[in-house]
């Protein structure tokens, strides 16, 4: 069985302006390597601007890597057309980004429709997924995003990302914009959900408690580099000053 995600020596340099010395851009991500196996959740933890989100976008090529290689289920990401690659990777963002003019059902069925599934198969898949994320299909399928609460919207966002059953899921602070109670509720459900699904996941957060709760492993980023990679227990015991800083903040 192939590894869902392998990242080797990944780097991203901001395009520099001017000439000579000034021409060298700043590295937002530098020499980041990790693998994520099936059923595993790698939490990328770090302060704002540490390169977590950039790393995610390099994986689904919303940004093009300036160095290194990404393999999805064994295939080199840069050998695939970017749109095809992205349809094989679920993507959940903090702002959710549901299409306001689509019903919940159409939002969830987006990738299957792009992939040309039959309407009936899409409809079945949508009902199945709404149930998976805890939304009653009969109640919610025909609603519009503005008729939902923040928590319901993010549930739809997760269902949309799972629609075409991708081997890999990228989540960028998915619960960051929710109120504390809804957030805890969704974190608990998400933990149960990921055990059932068996997808590989990369989960970006700056909340160390969330990271320790949801991560199989923790990758800690600082100034574009991966400064720690290990299990939650190893993270708790680590002598790395950045790990200590995060543990003290928890």
């Amino acid at each position: 069985m192939t590894t869902p995600l392998e990242v080797q020596g990944l780097g991203y340099e901001l395009p520099g302006k001017g000439t000579g010395e000034m021409r060298r851009g700043r590295f937002l991500v530098h020499d980041v390597s990790f693998t994520v196996g099936a059923g595993e959740t790698l939490v990328l933890l770090g302060r704002s601007g540490s390169g977590k989100t950039t790393t995610l976008k390099l994986i689904n090529r919303l940004l093009e890597p300036s160095a290194g290689e990404v393999r999805i289920a064994g295939a080199r990401a840069r050998d695939l057309a970017a749109t095809r690659l992205r349809r094989r990777i679920g993507y959940v963002i903090q702002e959710v980004g549901l299409f306001p003019h689509f019903t919940v059902a159409r939002n969830v069925g987006l990738v299957p429709r792009l992939e040309g599934w039959e309407p009936r198969r899409i409809a079945e898949r949508v009902r199945e997924l709404l149930a998976v994320v805890g939304l009653d299909p009969d109640t919610f399928a025909l609603r519009y995003p503005h008729q939902l609460s923040g928590g319901q919207r993010q549930r739809v966002g997760v269902a949309r990302a799972l629609a075409a059953d991708p081997p890999l899921l990228l989540l960028d602070e998915p619960f960051g914009a929710l109120d504390p109670i809804t957030r805890v509720e969704l974190q608990r459900e998400f933990q149960a959900l990921k055990q059932r699904l068996g997808q590989a996941m990369v989960f970006v957060t700056h909340d160390v408690r969330e990271g320790l709760m949801l991560g199989t492993r923790i990758g800690l980023m600082r100034q574009g580099k991966l400064v720690f990679l290990g299990t939650s227990d190893e993270f708790r015991r680590s002598e790395n000053p950045e790990c200590r800083a995060f543990m003290e903040a928890a």
Binding site: L62, Y91, E95, F99, L110, V111, L114, P145
Partner: protein, 212 residues
Amino acid sequence: MNLWQFYARNSGEVLGLVGQHVSLVASSTAIAIVVGVPVGIALTRRPAWRAPVLGLANVFQTIPSLALFGFLIPLPFIGGIGATTAIVALVVYALLPIVRNTYTGLAGVDPAVREAGRGMGMTDWQLLTQVELPLGLGVILAGVRVATVVSVGTATIAAAIGAGGLGVYIFRGVAVVDDTLILAGALPAALMALAADGLLGLAERRFAWRAQ
């Protein structure tokens, strides 16, 4: 002779001029949409073009309409006396609101929505046709509305270069100092502008997707 007697006696001519006026406005607005919407879309893809293109459209807008008609007369193909020249001038005026509103409408789409669409694997074309245009349609239609209403007024001046339309009565009335004649051209033009404003306003509200 009052206005109603004038209309009663010249009903055939009045209807003909109204027809000419509508066709001047409709054809110039249609051309401006066909040209302006793609230009507006292009500006969202090439931000560097935004300032020069909108600047140029702005400059066109500041040329007094009578002067623009005059400038166009000596030009080959698009110039001369008649409806073609008038339509070219009306297109030039209609372009700015349509280009600007197309740009604004698309640029106003929530960046998170656009990122989600791209992240899900939509192509640029799919994102444009399924997300950006539907969401920006209300704003684009607002631009079309402004362009149309302005065109109805500006088209009255087209009579000065032999393009016909309701301006014929207005110019004739000014020349012979006859208020009734001026009103005979101005009143239907004003009603036409109000009707266009009302109808396109309805369409605009129908397609406004500013739900959240």
